[in-house]
């Protein structure tokens, strides 16, 4: 099952979808600036449709089955979101059209800011960040700007637990700050003694993921926040795992100063094969003036409100063109309106229910190193004791059973990690089937290890040679001379 490249389907002179006719006189083309060769494919419309349809069929997707990638929250993407995002007044609005002619879009953005602020327990929200990673950069720049505005310019260090996503240290160094790593303790929490030994007047803040990447709620979160605040630092919450907390606890209530939300995780917008997502950032009152340019504000009366863009007084600046991933914001807004307060709590409760149920079903076979009540996900070791099978082998064998593997080899602090997040939208039957498949694979690891090691056997391709891909990179199609 393989599909030719679109270039390989090309025939000289073949046309695709017809273009409109020229209905004005021709102007003279700019001398010396016109390109001679435009080496794009020449294919017909039906060939394009079939090519991409066949490509689509090589993909696994949530619409096909369970997709329990830990830390990614691959929940069902409701179809109503796609309908609302495609309403013509949204898709056809030009980002520079006058604010008076974009009141629907601005009102939606304002309401979404307000809803997210209430869900997270924050005073203000920016919708601009394009993704979680950009949200982190925004959050770190806000923390840096806050200290500098107070004349606290010697602060240059961000504390990051060893279980953190790689984007945390990367966002820190992009902000020109230094990373100091904090180890985890035996229960999978931040090691408090290690944290205490690192806090000082050089600390900008701590970036903490809660629940952490082991899927565990930080049991000492209030103490951690207290320690960091005690040295004048701020606490950044990585909201990647917010699906466990909506309606359960507001991070702002426990002292988190800044946090990004992943709308493509918690708020059900489609992942799109890797994007676009959105990473709004919520902040406590003392950071609201530092938010990126612009935010949406409401003026006028309740009866006749008017919404407009506003640049916060000490803004860190503009972080992207225009106003954010508006189409994604419409989907997230739709999701929140479909749920309300109780509906969102129900989401978190069932995300945590599914994760704990699956954990309990497999933990006698797959060692769970920090085995306590988890939140929306848990981390097991993928190696099967007494065999040579690894997390990779188990993952690839899952593909043969027609389901998607978990996140593997992350977090780095667990050997052969399998990070499993079923999400709340999976029925019990599907979770049971996944558990049984994992247990069957563990038996196969004993009875027929080669079956795992050579998996997948029934995917569109067999295991791919990543070493060759990196050693002799082929990163584009080139015509045969």
């Amino acid at each position: 099952m393989s599909e030719s490249l679109i270039y390989e389907l090309s025939s000289p002179g073949r046309r695709g979808t017809p273009t409109p006719k020229l209905d004005v006189p021709e102007a003279e083309l700019p001398a010396g600036l016109v390109r001679e060769d435009l080496p794009l494919p020449e294919v017909s419309e039906i060939e394009v449709v079939r090519h991409f349809l066949r490509l689509s069929q090589l993909n696994y997707a949530i619409d096909k089955g369970i997709y329990p990638l830990g830390s990614c929250t691959m929940k069902y993407n409701p179809k109503i979101n796609e309908v609302t995002a495609r309403l013509p007044g949204f898709t056809g609005a030009h980002p520079h059209q006058p604010e008076g002619l974009a009141q629907g879009a601005l009102r939606l953005m304002y309401e979404l800011q307000e809803h997210l602020a209430k869900i997270g327990g924050f005073a203000g929200v920016t919708l601009q960040p394009a993704a979680g990673a950009q949200g982190e950069l925004v959050g770190v720049l806000i923390m840096r700007a806050y200290h500098r505005a107070r004349g606290d310019t010697q602060r240059d260090t961000i504390l990051v637990p060893d279980s953190a996503h790689g984007t945390n240290p990367a966002s820190t160094s992009m902000s020109g700050l230094r990373v100091v790593q904090i180890p985890s303790d035996k229960r999978g929490n931040v090691d408090l003694d290690a944290l205490r030994s690192q806090v000082c007047d050089r600390v900008v803040g701590l970036m903490i993921t809660n629940p952490n990447t082991l899927g565990l709620f930080e049991e000492n979160i209030e103490e951690i926040v207290g320690i960091v605040h005690g040295c004048g630092g701020l606490v950044y919450g990585d909201g990647a795992n917010m699906n466990a907390l909506i309606g359960v606890v507001r991070p702002g209530d426990i002292g988190i100063d800044v946090m990004h939300y992943n709308l493509h995780k918690t708020f059900s917008t489609p992942h799109g094969g890797g994007g676009p997502g959105a990473g709004p950032v919520g902040v406590a009152a003392h950071l609201i003036d530092f938010l990126p340019d612009p935010v949406v504000v409401r003026e006028g009366t309740d009866a006749e409100p008017h919404y407009r863009f506003h640049r916060p007084s000490q803004s860190i600046g503009r972080v992207r063109s225009f106003w954010g991933h508006f189409g994604i914001l419409v989907r997230a807004y739709t999701y929140i309106r479909m749920h309300g307060s109780e509906g969102l709590r129900n989401v978190a409760e069932h995300a945590v229910l599914n994760a704990n149920y699956l954990r309990c079903r497999v933990r006698d076979t797959y060692h769970v190193p920090y085995d306590r009540m988890c939140m929306h996900e848990f981390v097991a070791e993928g190696r099967i004791s007494g065999t040579g099978s690894t997390a990779m082998d188990v993952s690839k064998r899952l593909i043969d059973y027609g389901v998607h593997p978990p996140t593997m080899y992350f977090p780095l602090i667990v050997h052969d990690a399998l990070m499993i997040e079923p999400t709340e939208t999976e029925p019990l039957r599907t979770v049971d089937a996944y558990a049984e498949t994992l247990l069957r694979i563990a038996e196969e690891a004993v009875s027929d290890p080669a079956l795992l090691h050579e998996a997948p056997h029934v995917a569109p391709v067999r295991r791919l040679d990543e070493v060759q891909a990196a050693r002799t990179p082929v990163l584009r199609y080139r015509r045969q001379p």
């Binding site: 695709g16 979808t17 273009t19 090589l58 609302t84 979680g132 063109s321 106003w323 309300g340 149920y357």
Partner: protein
């Protein structure tokens, strides 16, 4: 509830297996006094009612596709072939994630490989990444690539004042914690040639836009050579409009080291500013400094061709604080849209679209320039945007255009937003979507407004 499929029986079975009595007991690690707050959110709606509410909000916006529109300045109303939305609407693409498991992600991976190839061919470059968030952040990543190329030792970045103001602002935001000095855009009257005089051995890169923010096609011929004559290593980054590359010589053939831009014109709607697509290409020599995802071709265990994410040691999940960027995702679905767009238009179609833009823009410019009170300020050549000096403030003219009968006209961009004293300069965009009748109506309306304004003075 809405999307949780559990029955009461399911919950009972599951809670028993876990060994707790209720859902609430799952959360005992959460500090009790903060547990289960009542969120002050509006009551949940049914699908029918939510659609009604959103329809109402949608109707409060002007739909720029439904009226003659001459507004661009970084986002353009282009025709989107039907095939584009058909493909990106497919659940197999839309509801997949990052292709971490290559064996069941070959559709996404091959599409990205094709996207990378198309961007290279369009820009005349060697290697393209899987995309950035938009043109502005791609510009910031170019600065970071240049900064990293010189191991953070070169501090100066020269940026043309005719680069989109949003992009220049984003570059400053991204670099505020770095030891980088952004210069060159102090006055809008600085042509790219004048930036060359400021290139020295401390200059990491020079950034120009072509066609520039004011629509002008910049004289790129020889620019790279003259930069390299002053310092052989300084990088040249060119921001470009991808539709213009259907017609114009690509920056790669002028010696650019990085070519990037906003991919929105490639089959993405206006969507009030996003999600869009930052395309990004560079030379082979710089592939290790490239940010973002890359897809490469390889073979599987049976020797069959396949695709994987590759050269990942540049990226944050491996290198953490030493990564080339913090970017994790790409604009997957938007890159797919651009891939489909470029495929279904192809070699001939993109050229025709580019020519339509060029001819229609020049037709409109000639007609406006002939009106009393208006003059087009661009020296030829320009592509599909140009600057009109107006007889009164653009804000007033645009308000009058919106009152046009029988249909409102969405006028051009008010350059007074970005440049002091330019309140009477309008940036007009014309695309293949503007019929001759629309252009004629726009010209007639401008003429009538000019007469009216003079009458009032």
């Amino acid at each position: 509830m809405v999307y949780t499929p559990h029955t009461d029986d399911d919950r009972r079975v599951m809670l028993e297996a876990i060994g707790v009595g209720s859902l609430a007991e799952l959360f005992t690690s959460v500090p009790e006094q903060h547990r289960f707050p009542k969120l002050d959110l509006p009551e949940a709606l049914s699908e029918m009612d939510v659609l009604r509410e959103l329809q109402t909000l949608s109707d409060l916006n002007l739909n720029a596709n439904s009226v003659p529109t001459f507004l661009g300045a970084g986002a353009y109303r282009h025709w989107v072939p039907s095939v584009v939305d058909y493909v990106i609407g497919r659940g197999e693409f839309a509801t997949a994630y990052t292709p971490y498991q290559a064996e069941v992600s070959q559709g996404t991976l091959q599409a990205i490989f094709e996207y990378q190839s198309l961007v290279c061919d369009l820009t005349g470059m060697d290697v393209a990444n899987a995309s950035h968030y938009d043109g502005a952040t791609a510009t910031a990543e170019a600065v970071i690539q240049a900064y990293n190329t010189f191991r953070k030792k070169r501090r100066k970045v020269l940026i043309s004042p005719a680069v989109n103001p949003h992009y220049r602002a984003v570059v400053r935001t991204y670099t505020q914690g770095m030891d980088v000095q952004i210069a060159g855009d102090e006055s809008i009257d600085t042509p790219p040639a004048d930036l060359i005089d400021r290139v020295d051995s401390d200059t990491a890169c020079v950034i120009v836009q072509n066609p520039n923010f004011l629509g002008q096609i910049e004289p790129l011929m020889g620019l790279a050579d003259r930069i390299h004559a002053r310092d052989p290593q300084t990088l040249l980054a060119v921001i470009t409009n991808p539709i213009s590359l259907g017609l114009l010589e690509p920056p790669g053939s002028f010696g650019a080291d990085i070519v990037l831009g906003e991919g929105q014109p490639l089959g993405l709607g206006l969507n009030f500013g996003g999600p869009y697509l930052g395309f990004y290409a560079t030379r082979e020599a710089y592939v290790r400094q490239l940010a973002g995802r890359l897809v490469g071709q390889t073979i599987d265990a049976e020797g069959k061709p396949g695709y994987v994410m590759t050269l990942t040691t540049r990226e944050q999940h491996i290198r953490r604080d030493k990564a080339t960027s913090n970017i994790c995702s790409n604009q997957g679905l938007m890159a797919l849209a651009a891939t489909v767009y470029l495929s279904v238009l192809g070699k001939h179609g993109l050229r025709q679209i580019a020519e339509l833009n060029y001819h229609k823009a020049h037709y409109a410019a000639t007609a406006i320039d002939a009106l009393p009170g208006y003059s087009v300020l661009n020296r030829s050549p320009f592509f599909n945007e140009f600057v009109v000096l107006c007889p009164s403030p653009v804000a007033r003219i645009n308000a009058a255009l919106l009152d046009s009968k029988p249909t409102p006209i969405l006028g051009g961009y008010d350059l007074g937003h970005d440049f002091e004293g330019w309140e009477d300069r309008m940036l007009v965009a014309v695309t293949e979507m503007n019929s001759r009748a629309e252009i004629d109506a726009f010209v007639a309306a401008l003429a009538a407004i000019s007469v009216q304004e003079r009458g009032e003075q």
